[in-house]
């Protein structure tokens, strides 16, 4: 059974100057999942984050944190229990890296030794070796390192919920991808509920269990990445995903998802197959194969690169099915 930890019910936020930043938004975030908020600049993503830790107060509607209406909770306690990576990073430049990371534990009055251990642990986790970095000042760090310190600071007191507002925003594509991969690994270990903001749909598809697509202060679609790719709610979503939607979709299906298991090679091992197997998966070099868990994107690449019509799908030594170009076409949403 899953339970929700953050619930928005018809939430509207109007700033004092009359700007309606978000309007009548409802969604629920399940515990332990990553929900990505994605959309063009100014559509209300940051506002949504700030409403959760009450840096801004909502105008109407209700927000629940772990079943309790957030307005009934103490702001300061709430913020100390929710990790927040702010869009502008916002490190304390007059403090060392260690003091930055140790800020929330210090506020929670952990004892010194425990804070120091925690800081070292987090810096190592973030690939910023503690001996080198703990006594440096933020000004001495690169943009990517600063963002890691920002993430470490948010993680410090082991919060159940993390708000991450474009945590990898100001980075070059290569560093960004590296941090995304690292963070996915870290997330697998720490298993937190994460609300993640980005305006990059690829990042959203990669990081999210669920994605909320924003447009002008409203959520136009709230779904799993796969649903969003295969069933875009409208033209705005379709356009936002981009013209390479089918390639993105291919990356979300595994060979196992689409393979034909009825072929008569199924159940044999590759060596048993010898030269007597299916012709369409063979060229001068022999059979072309993909692992069952590999994406259909990989399968397609192999089909095109090998100039064949299809590939064998294997699990270990055993052939478990086949995937042909026709199978792929049939499974892409456009074909349905």
């Amino acid at each position: 059974m899953t339970s929700t930890i953050i619930d928005f019910e018809n939430v509207t936020k109007e700033y004092p100057d009359g700007t309606v930043a978000i309007e009548d938004i409802s969604f629920s975030v399940e515990e332990g999942t990553t929900t990505v908020f994605v959309g063009p600049s100014g559509c209300g993503k940051t506002t949504t984050m700030k409403l959760v830790n009450r840096l801004e107060e909502l105008t109407s509607g209700k927000i629940y944190y772990d079943g309790q209406e957030i307005r009934s909770l103490d702001k300061i306690d709430l913020r100390r229990n929710i990790g927040y990576v702010i869009q502008e990073i916002g490190l304390f430049d007059h403090m060392t890296v260690a003091e930055n990371v140790g800020m929330v534990p210090t506020l929670l009055e952990w004892d010194r030794a425990r804070i120091d251990d925690r800081v070292d642990e987090l810096l190592d986790l973030m690939d910023l070796p503690a001996e080198t970095y703990r006594d440096q000042h933020p000004m001495e760090l690169s943009g990517g390192q600063r963002q890691r310190v920002g993430v470490a600071r948010a993680l410090a007191a082991d919060p159940d919920v993390m708000l991450m507002d474009e945590p990898f925003g100001a980075l070059d594509p290569i560093t960004r991808e590296k941090l995304q991969d690292e963070f996915l690994e870290i997330q697998a270990q720490i298993d937190k509920t994460i609300l993640f903001v980005t305006h990059d749909i690829d990042e959203a598809l990669k990081m999210g269990d669920k994605i909320a697509i924003y447009r002008n202060g409203q959520i136009v679609q709230y779904d799993t990445p796969k649903e969003i790719l295969t069933n875009p709610a409208n033209d705005f979503v379709r356009e936002f995903i981009g013209s390479d939607r089918l390639i993105k979709e291919l990356k979300f299906m595994t060979a196992g998802d689409v393979m034909d298991e009825t072929a008569d090679v199924t159940g044999k091992t590759l060596s048993e197959l010898g030269a007597a197997g299916v012709e369409f998966a063979r060229n001068g070099q022999g059979y072309l194969t993909v692992e069952r868990s590999e994406t259909t994107h990989v399968a397609l690449m192999k089909i095109y690169e090998g100039h064949v019509e299809g590939v064998l799908v294997t699990e270990g030594e055993e052939v478990v099915g086949t995937v042909t170009e026709a199978d792929l076409k049939r499974n892409l949403s456009e074909g349905r």
Partner: protein
């Protein structure tokens, strides 16, 4: 050149008096300055959190500061009377504005995102002030204190007119008597005093920023 030698000569010939005047001058400036900091700093901090305080404080500070120093002194002394006390009050009033302005700007110019981050990690407004805004505003606040001090070393010369003593004694008497060596013997130490106090404040500032700053693995924020 010989004028400089003569003034040094004058200074040593009247060394006892010189020490007396210098001591009065330093005392006047330092006490007035400390009092100015003690008032302008808290009021400046308060002003960043309350618009009404800010409006009035700046207005009062401006009034004191736009009237010529001699006029401030003249205004003060009917109330406080002749002597050292009027000198203090006049210099104090005159020294407020630079500290006030710089305290306000220093705090308000701390990067909005840094303050937002501080709020986001769950610091209270007081903790934000103490652990984030004030430390980051130290250079600007100190610039205000230094400006104010230097101005008041100069204003200290005028204190002689209301009988508060100080190096103004030699300068004013020297002018009256066309005694150039005496004027210089009073003026040059004042210039050196201004430079000296400025350097001293610079050192204090550096200590605040590096030495016992929220430093070395220990202190950060507390209620």
């Amino acid at each position: 050149m010989s004028l400089l030698v003569e003034s040094i000569q004058y200074l040593f010939d009247n060394f006892e008096t010189f020490l007396q005047l210098l001591q009065e001058h330093v005392f006047l400036v330092v006490v007035a300055e400390v009092a100015a900091v003690l008032v302008a700093l808290p009021v400046g901090i308060l002003a960043t959190r309350n618009d009404a305080v800010k409006r009035y404080a700046l207005r009062v500070g401006n009034v004191f500061h736009t009237i010529p120093p001699l006029a401030v002194i003249a205004l003060v002394f009917p109330f406080v009377g002749i002597g050292m006390k009027s000198g203090f009050v006049a210099l104090w009033a005159y020294g407020l504005l630079p500290i006030l302005i710089n305290t306000i700007t220093g705090i308000e110019e701390v990067d909005e995102s840094t303050v937002e981050a501080a709020r986001g990690v769950g610091m209270t407004e007081n903790q934000i002030l103490k652990s984030v805004q004030l430390p980051l505003a130290v250079p600007v606040i100190f610039a205000g204190i230094r400006t104010s001090t230097i101005i008041n070393v100069g204003n200290g010369y005028l204190a002689f007119f209301i009988g508060a003593g100080g190096l103004g004694d030699w300068v004013v008497t020297g002018i009256a008597l066309f005694n150039n060596p005496q004027i210089l013997a009073g003026a040059i130490p004042g210039a050196l005093l201004a430079i000296g106090l400025d350097l001293a404040l610079g050192r204090v500032e550096n200590r605040l920023r590096t030495g016992d700053e929220p430093g070395q693995r220990s202190t950060t924020a507390a209620a």
